[in-house]
Structures are given as structure tokens and as C-alpha cells.
Symmetry: C2
Subunit: 665 residues, 2 copies
């Protein structure tokens, strides 16, 4: 036993070999003269900084160890250096000085926050203290996530009462004024205001308002509700299922217990924790343009063997994702152009197409729609020049596009020279009991081949025109919701014919392109060998695959999934992290059977899971070529893929069965 | 070459060693003097009967072969007997007489309709001409189906005047509106009408119209005419050679004596007797009281190794199914009591339960509902005394029971002392986007354990009270929609506790009962090994399993499934016959993994497929213990199971992996 409290030539202290708060490679610590360890922890006396680098507002007037006991400080620095070199990591050191003699009590790997973890990893690689492989294991995906979103200033947040709690659906902090409709959100933001869109729940018609808002707050819905999915895709702060809130749309106010808040009142959200606060809390930036972050992700890329793509539906999203390091688009949803800004005209022609009574009418409407489809596709192919872009053919059931509002209906009826009765009748005939399992995806393509043809032509013509302009477009045509290889064959006949026609039209010999399918129906995984005879790539749509494997409708899990997780019936929400035992087995079977027929089959994932670290690890283990996720999750996926490669790719001693392995190394 | 048309000592004929129309063991045939074979088939001359047994209204005045050429007839009979003994089956014989000398042209196994096939099979077993194993292969499920087809209600038929008579070429009754061309038949049926195709005679070009029609009526032709042959093949109601009818194609009318009937007028046909009636006569189901059918099914049961249960929801259905030969109930849907007759009171309490805001309120409503549940269960257990009854716990989502009509809503609001606003809000909150994959089945049981408890108590108390009364109730409690074994464990805790409580209450040592689960979610098949650690039986719910494996909502396939089958994208409707490659693999995996853990696991099927012969064969091959189907399909299932056992059970030489095999033999 040594004592630090035997006089003024005694002391005790705690130090970190580098700054655990920001990662600076500067010795950092505190000490107390004539004290024992518990005195430091107790906080009854203010400890002094061990050196200038450790000084703060609070302790800048106190004598540093460096100045007060210079010899001992030097000794401590030497030991610190030795320890760090030995352990190759930042050390948390406890020491005691008894009568001018330095004793080391213990050392261990020091805890650190996200920014510090990344800074240290990058520095230590530069210092050649650790290899890149070790560096990528030093940062958790959650720590990386901290750097990607602005947050509420933690000091202020600590002092504020939480108004209510919901599910943390989109990370980071945000503050803004309450609005209740998507239209208001758009208008207020146009007028230079910051808003938080508060809804009972959101639907596709709210998308523009959601995009305009700083954050979204809903009273209902789970982690996979519309609001949560959209917000996560954008990396936007979002809290859902905040059931304490009662939204009164007519009076434009919300009640939370006794508190009543009106339109225009300020709210602050902590989307990482799910906390809602009244008023404006100060925000701080977590460092988007962070040089160190870029360096760290470059280290990840050195270790990574699996590709990272992104889910993006516009040229703007594509460009942003590229800046985050995406190496292609894994999911371009053609239907995006029918939602939100600039969708009025294409949506009108789509609705005209839906209303068509004959194939000829439908073809005419499709011809009017085609230029819009081509424009969106061409722009995205151009933005991703040289990189693959997986373009999914029209997926949602047609009734999703039926106008709900009377005005739009009247306008449509007039334009189509139809009476409202006939219009409404046609709309009603599209109604489905379980739309998720209804007339959608390839089922539309098989029943209305002209829809497929229009889309395929738009894709190939875009690629042909870009090629003529010296670009390197690389479209991959993806056919969704397939359950039988004959669906693929049916659609391939169209794809092949249009391909030839476009080549002839543009006088080209060939285009770089693949045609494949989304594997999202359980049956498709089982018959993957048949699919692989035709498809050039598979992309696992794990959202729908999870829905059907569990029999869970994502929109309807609100009533029980929370209870399931609470009771431990399920370990977690299978829409967040891939259910390895069930859904995972189907994916595994699908890959095995697919690659058995075609070992070069390109295989990826385009569900939300592509941005979840545990799921990325799973994707690596089953041998996928790439994962695709929302632009804001790309850095997380790069890290997770690197960690998986380091953990499983390097220890396989040649036994590793993954195709991805060794691809880049 | 021999000639039957060289004078009056020549003839040609077609005969069957037994009557192909009803199976009577009587030589049956037609011949024409001074004619060649094609004259018989053409139907231009009315052939004469070969003997008295072959006489009909139509030809009773013509000289029989037996009378006209007695020596040759005797010779023919001797040959016929020899042929049948040799081939051990009914023979279709063609002969020609040239100048008083008999020549046999050919013989082959004769086509027959369903009733005839069954009669012959039963007779030949009795005659020891064939074994029971061979007998069951002599009747196709479609032929058996003929006997199960509706007939005209005999009481009504008795009171109706026969308009005219023809030859009974296809059994059963049918009614429909008169059409005169095959094309009209097809078109009218497309428009939802039921038609009877009336023709002078038919030819191969009429086949599609004949298929579409409920029945076929011709003015000319014998039992071997085109119409008769085709209709017999399909087991379709058909009357031929109804010479009283004069068909006027141009005016689209028929005259029978003074009666004139036009296109669109209603006719009713008794194809078993050859009677034609004007108007619509009521139909009823046949077969139930048929002695030969019972004998044949008894032969099937001798060969069969797999059990046959039925899906029945009331004591009445249970009793009916028992009379058809069901050996238990494979699916008793507790929710039946909330639909149809007598459902007002239980439905009211169920709705009260749904509206409950607290667990206490819910428990109170459940207590009021319990006596109704118990009554239905007890009645069914009693009706099936000694046989297993699989009782499925509440399956549909609660919103299915929400009253749609204003009056019922007001009544409920009043009874619950609620305002309409709150009531409607609660109802709306139950709405689901994809109810098939929503808050239903075990998900209700996990979130509202008191619902499970009430049902389980009703089951065990029913069993206990019946046991006390000397009965042998055998309830099997089935938990539906499970996707994870933890759901089962959660519910089992309730089941076990209530079991002990009921035993104590009734002072009983034990009850004969099993608790198991419905396997209808793809994930459950994959994790069947885990399920088998807990469940005492599996019952495959192939309806939902097919829905989720294909991603097809049965309610919403209208838009594309027809097109799929038409284009050959799918071979057939997977809801009619099990999709062996996809759904079948999941079932196979589920059984294999389940039995790997518990070799004695009782395994059955309770989806619609249980009554489909091809699916029954599949169920046999994968080793199920029983199939369960609707009461009217029980005979079909008995035959199909017997055929599967004969075809696959007997040729396995011990390699057959099916548990069912040898169980009964």
C-alpha cells in the first residue's frame, strides 16, 4: 500500500496517455496533492491539471504536476510512453506519489468518445503504432455515428426536463417551430423558418414537408414506420411513436398531459435518445467536413473487401452519397419521381396510365410519362458515371398513386374526359386488402408488359446517349417481387428486345449493363438456383423478405412488436437488424443455390439492413459482394464492412467461403 | 379387313363388358346391322341394343343382337368373359360380323364414369378379380368427385313433370340457361351466368363451350357419341340422344312438342336418369347415403395409412364430417361463433372486450363471453367423442369484428357508456394496412394473455365436464401464427397453469390433451427444431404459408393470378394444389427438423389443400400423420390417401421415410 496523503510531497492522480475527449496526442490528466484516489473521484476538491495541455477554465490557476514536481512528471511521461508503446493503445493510468516517489497503481485501455476514438485510430496508424486492421476495430459504429449528426449541447440538455419520450428513429438533435401539415412545413421553411413537423403518423404525401422540416415527431408508428424509414434514409432527426402526444389537427395544437403546445411553439428533439424538450436548446456540430473522419474511412476502405453502395433516387442524393464514399447505387426507386417536388406532371401521366381502359390508351399515357422517367434515370446515371446503378422497375401497387383529394380527382377526371363516378369506380377497383402482397412489382410488369417496356427503353436510351457523350453509364435493371423464374423470363424477353432496338437506334455495339432480380419473396430464395440461370445479379430486399418470413406487416407491428421485445419474445426488431436464424437462413440458401449455378453472380443487399453494422457483418459472412444503404449510413457501412473483413476475412486461413474475400486485398 | 356392311347378315358394334354408365355387371353395347364402325360413332342412325340390359327408351323397339343373332351373341359373351378375366378390368370391345361370322376388332380397358368406376371396383373386389390395392387405383379422385356432385333435390324433382328424356351420359344434376353455340356458352359464363349447352350433336370444335357449360344436352347420338364421351371424361352432367328435341339454331329456340324454349330460358337436367325439366329446380349434395360409395371408401380405408380429419366449427359440421368418415377434427376455428346464426350475443361481448381500455375491463368482458365459447367447444368435443379435436385459439385481427353499421355501433356505445367519437376512434386505431400480417393469432395471445386464458379454460373445463360424464374428449390446443418458439413458451405458461387449475377444480388426475402449434409462417418452418422442443403437434396451415411464401394475398390475386396461369408463368393456382417446389420445401424442412427433435411429433395439415388429391399425395410423401379438409372433401381425401399409400407405401421396400407408413397396416 502506498499513500498519497502523507504530506505535500505526496499526491495521487489519474491520467490518459492521449486526450480521451478529442483524441489529441497529448498527455492528459489531473492530480491532487496530499490525497488518495477516492478524493479525486469524490470531486470534493478540484484536482489540478498535470500539464498545460490538461488545463481548463476550472483549474487553470492551479499548479500543474509538470511545474510542481517536474522530475516526477518526466518520470510519469516516460512510463506513459512505454505503456502506450507496449499496449499499442491509449492508456488510462492511475498513480500515487508517496514522499516524492512515483508509484503506478494500474493501467488499462482508456475509454474515449467517438471523435477521440477516430482521431487516435488515425494518428496511431500514422505513427505506425498500429496496423490499419487494428485501427478499424478501435472505433464502434455507434462512435462513428456520433460524428455524423449535429447534437444538442450535452451540458444544456442535462439541465432540461424531458417533456416526453418516443422511439429514437433518426439520430442527432434538432430544434424548430411546430407545424402540423407537410404543406405548412414547406411554406414556413420557404419563409426562412426552421420547423418540426408533428403528425399523428406520416404517409407518402407528407414527404416534401418531411424533407423541409428539421425533424419529424409522430405520435404513432414504430421504428419501421413511414416516418422512421424516410428520416433514417435522410439521416434526419426523428422521433416516432411518442404516444403521450395527442395531436389536435383542427385546433393546431398538441397536448402532452397538461402541457398544450400550439403551432409555432419551439421544440427541441434528441433523436438519438428519443427525448422531446420544450423550447430552443443550443446545438453543436459533430463534424461533417471532418478531415480526420475522411482519413479514418480511407483506412477502413483499405481493410474492406465488400463493396458499399447507396440507396438513392435522385441525381442530388447520388452525388451526396458519392461524397460519403458510395461506390455505386444499390437501389434507385423509379417511383420516387411520383412523390414530392416536381412530381405533379409525371404523376399526372402515371395516373392517366392507371386509368387507361385499353392497352392502347395505356401505351399513350406511358409515352407521355416516358420523358420524365428518362430524365430522372439519365441524371442519376450521369452523377454516378462509371459506377453501377441498380434501377428497380416500378414496385408499388398502382392504388398507391390514386389521388385522395377531391380537387386532384376532379382535375384528372376533366383531363381524361371521364365522369367522377367512373373515376372513383376505377380507383375503388384497385383497392387491395393486403397491398404488400398484392398486384405490385413484377406482377405489374407481367400483366402490363408495356409498363416494363417504357422503363427499360428509358434506361437503355439514357445509357446510349451518355455513352455517345463519352460517359461510362452502368445501369443494372432490377426486377422486383419475383417468386418464380418464369416471371423473370417473361420480363427478360422485353428487356432483350428493347436492348437490341436501342442499340440499333443509337448505332452502338453494346452497352455495359446487367439484368437481375430483387430477392425479397421467401420462395425466390428457395428457387434461387432456377433464378440464377437467368438473372445476372441478385439483390436481397430484406425489408420485404423480413415481412414475409415473419408474417409481420411493417406498418402494423405497432400493436405487438414493442410488447414482444419488452417480454423478450423477440430479441430485437427484425427490421433493424437481420434475423440471422430465420431470414438469414433464407438468404444463405438463396446465395448458396444461386452461386452453385453461377459462381460469378453479383449479390448484394438493398434493404434498410444494409446500414446496420450487425447486418453488414452477416452480409459479409454469407459472401455478398456489396451492401447498399441510405447515403448517411454509407460511412457506417464502410466501417462495419472493414471490421467484418478484419474479424472474419483474416482469420479464415483460406477456409473462408466468401466470394468477396480477397477481392481488393 | 372385315366388312359389317355387306348385307343383313352383317353388323358392327361396340360393347362394354360391364355398363360404363353405372357399373352394373351386365354386358352392355350397341350395334348396327349392315354398317361399319364409323356409322355407330357418327350417330346418324340409332344403334340397336345388343341385349335387354342395353335397352333404353330410345332403342327399346329395335331388335337386340341377342335375339337377332343368338349364336353370335353367345360367342361374343364368351369372348367378353375371357377378356375381362384376363385383363382383370372392364373391357371396351369392338366387333364386326361379316356374313354371320364374328370378328373381334379390338379390346381395351373401357372408359367409365365415376359411379360406374366405383361400382366396378367394389364388385371386382367382391368377385376376387382384383385386390383392394388395385381397386383404389381404379377410381380417380375426379370420378369419386362425380358422386359428390349435387343432384336435383329428389322431393322437388318428384313433383315436376319430365319435359323429355334422353340417355344418361353424365351423372348428377345441373341447371342453367339455354345457349346454342359453344361460343355463347363461353361468353355467357364469362359474364357470370350458368348455361346449358343444347346442340343437335357435338363435335370437337364445341369442347370449350362444353367445358364452360354446367351441362350438355344433345338431340342425337348414343352413349358413345362425342358428347357422351367428353362429358363422361369430365364427370359433367350430360344427356344425349334426346330425340324429342328439335333444335332451331337460326331462331335460337328448341321445340319439344308444343313447348317452345328460347335462348336464356332455364332448364334443369338429371344426368343420372336422363330427365330434362323446364325451369330451375333446387340442387342438393349427393353421395352421403350411397351404399356403394361407402363400400368403396371402406376399401380405401383398408389401404390407407394416413389419418383423415376435417375442418369443422360446429357440432353439426362435426357430426356431418364423421358421417363422411372423418377421424377427428383438424381445425376447429373458435371465431366461428362470431359469424352467422346465433352470433349476436357472443359477438357483443367480444366487441365489448375489444373496446376495453384496461386489463380489468377486458377480463370482465371475457368472463361474459366465456360461456358461449365453452358451449361451442363442449358441443364439438362431445360430437367427436373419442376423436381428436384440434381447437385453434382466436386467429383473426380484432378489427374484423368491428361493427360497420351505424345502429350496431350506437348500441355498443350505449351499452359501454361511451360516446360515438371515442368508439370510432378506438375502431380506427385498430385499422391495419396489411391485416393478414398484422396483430392476429398468437400475437393477440401474447399481448392480451387474458384472451388465451379464457379460451384455454373453456377447453379444459369442457373436457373435464365431459370426462366426468363418462365421455372421452380429446382436445388439442393449437396456437396459430407463431414465428418464434418464445411465443409458444409464453402461451404454454398460461396453458399449463390453467390445466392444473381445472384439474384441481374438477378433482381430476389428468385429461387427454395435446398442445401444439400451427405452422403457417415461413420462419416457423425454418425453426421447427426449436418449436418441436415445446410443441406436441404441428399442423401446417398451408393457406397462409402459401400466401407468405409467394407473397400473394389471396384476397388480391385477382389482378394477376389469372394472367399468370394463362401465360404459363405459374402452372396453376398454388392455393388449390400445394406448390411442391417452394411451399413444399418449407413443409419438408419443417417436418424434418421437427421430427429430428421429437420423432413422435404429430403432424398434419389443416389448409384447404387437405382436400386436394395431389396435395394429399404430397402430405403422404413427406410423412404427415393426417390431412384435414372440409367435410365434403373427406371422401376424396380418403381415396387420395389410399392411392398414395398403394403407390408409395408399398414400393418403398423399407426405405420409405414416412412415419405414417405401416401405422395401420
Amino acid at each position: 500500500m502506498v499513500f498519497g496523503n502523507m504530506g505535500d510531497d505526496c499526491a495521487t492522480g489519474v491520467a490518459f496517455s492521449r486526450n480521451p475527449g478529442n483524441g489529441d496526442n497529448k498527455f492528459y490528466g489531473e492530480y491532487l496533492v496530499n490525497a488518495q484516489g477516492e478524493d479525486v473521484v469524490a470531486g470534493t476538491r478540484t484536482p489540478a491539471p498535470i500539464n498545460a495541455a490538461s488545463q481548463s477554465e476550472h483549474n487553470k490557476d492551479l499548479v500543474t504536476l509538470e511545474n510542481g514536481m517536474p522530475k516526477l512528471y518526466k518520470q510519469l511521461v516516460a512510463i506513459k510512453n512505454r505503456l502506450e508503446k507496449h499496449y499499442r493503445d491509449m492508456q488510462d493510468i492511475e498513480f500515487t506519489i508517496e514522499n516524492n516517489r512515483l508509484f503506478m497503481l494500474q493501467c488499462r485501455v482508456g475509454k474515449r468518445n467517438g471523435p477521440a476514438a477516430i482521431q487516435m485510430a488515425v494518428d496511431m496508424v500514422k505513427e505506425k503504432l498500429i496496423t490499419p486492421e487494428i485501427a478499424v476495430t478501435r472505433v464502434t459504429p455507434a462512435q462513428l455515428d456520433e460524428l455524423l449528426h449535429p447534437i444538442i449541447d450535452p451540458k444544456t440538455e442535462k439541465d432540461h426536463a424531458v417533456l416526453c419520450k418516443g422511439l429514437p428513429a433518426g439520430p442527432g438533435g434538432a430544434c424548430g417551430q411546430i407545424v402540423f401539415t407537410a404543406a405548412d412545413a414547406v411554406n414556413w421553411v420557404k419563409n426562412g423558418k426552421k420547423v418540426i413537423l408533428v403528425r399523428e403518423e406520416t404517409n407518402p404525401e407528407d414527404v416534401e414537408g418531411m424533407r423541409a422540416a428539421e425533424a419529424i415527431l409522430t405520435a404513432r408508428g414504430g421504428m419501421t414506420s413511414h416516418a422512421a424509414l424516410v428520416a433514417r434514409g435522410w439521416g434526419k432527426c426523428c422521433i416516432v411513436g411518442c404516444s403521450a402526444i395527442h395531436v389536435a389537427l383542427t385546433s393546431k395544437e398538441i397536448r402532452i398531459g397538461d402541457t398544450v403546445l400550439k403551432e409555432g411553439d419551439w421544440l427541441t428533439l434528441n433523436g438519438t435518445k428519443g427525448n422531446v424538450y420544450v423550447g430552443q436548446l443550443p446545438m453543436m456540430d459533430a463534424g461533417e467536413e471532418n478531415r480526420v473522419l475522411m482519413d479514418f474511412l480511407a483506412i477502413c476502405d483499405k481493410c474492406r473487401t465488400m463493396g458499399i453502395r447507396t440507396n438513392a433516387d435522385t441525381p442530388e442524393d447520388a452525388a451526396k452519397a458519392k461524397s460519403f464514399g458510395a461506390e455505386g447505387i444499390g437501389l434507385f426507386r423509379t417511383e420516387h419521381m411520383f412523390y414530392g417536388k416536381g412530381s405533379d406532371e409525371p404523376l399526372f401521366y402515371l395516373r392517366k396510365m392507371i386509368m387507361s381502359k385499353t392497352t392502347d390508351e395505356r401505351k399513350k399515357a406511358l409515352a407521355e410519362l416516358a420523358p420524365y422517367v428518362k430524365k430522372a434515370i439519365k441524371g442519376t446515371l450521369e452523377a454516378m458515371d462509371g459506377m453501377p446503378v441498380v434501377i428497380r422497375l416500378l414496385d408499388p401497387p398502382l392504388h398507391e398513386f390514386v389521388p385522395q383529394d377531391e380537387g386532384k380527382r376532379k382535375e384528372l377526371a376533366k383531363a381524361l374526359d371521364l365522369n367522377m363516378n367512373d373515376l372513383v369506380k376505377r380507383f375503388e377497383s384497385l383497392h387491395e386488402v393486403n397491398p404488400m402482397m398484392g398486384h405490385r412489382g413484377v406482377r405489374l410488369g407481367v400483366t402490363f408488359p408495356e409498363i416494363t417496356e417504357m422503363q427499360v427503353r428509358a434506361i437503355y436510351e439514357s445509357a446510349a446517349e451518355l455513352t455517345k457523350n463519352g460517359k461510362k453509364p452502368y445501369p443494372e435493371i432490377m426486377i422486383p417481387v419475383t417468386c418464380d423464374v418464369n416471371e423473370l423470363k417473361d420480363q427478360y424477353a422485353i428487356v432483350k428486345r428493347v436492348y437490341k432496338e436501342v442499340l440499333a437506334k443509337y448505332n452502338l455495339k453494346k452497352l455495359k449493363t446487367l439484368t437481375g432480380t430483387m430477392i425479397e419473396i421467401p420462395r425466390a430464395t428457395l428457387l434461387a438456383d432456377q433464378f440464377a440461370e437467368v438473372a445476372e445479379f441478385f439483390s436481397f430486399g430484406t425489408n420485404d423478405l423480413t415481412q414475409m418470413t415473419f408474417g409481420f406487416s411493417r406498418d402494423d407491428t405497432g400493436g405487438f412488436l414493442g410488447k414482444y421485445v419488452e417480454k423478450g419474445v423477440l430479441e430485437g426488431d427484425p427490421f433493424q437488424s437481420i434475423d440471422v436464424n430465420g431470414v438469414g437462413e433464407l438468404i444463405h440458401v438463396g446465395i448458396e443455390r444461386g452461386r452453385h449455378i453461377n459462381p460469378d453472380l453479383e449479390i448484394g443487399i438493398c434493404g434498410e439492413h444494409g446500414g446496420d453494422p450487425a447486418s453488414v457483418e452477416f452480409c459479409f459472412k454469407v459472401g455478398m459482394d456489396y451492401v447498399s444503404c441510405s447515403p448517411f449510413r454509407v460511412p457506417i457501412a464502410r466501417l462495419a464492412a472493414a471490421q467484418a473483413a478484419v474479424q472474419y476475412g483474416c482469420t479464415c486461413k483460406g477456409k473462408c467461403n466468401t466470394k468477396a474475400k480477397g477481392k481488393k486485398k
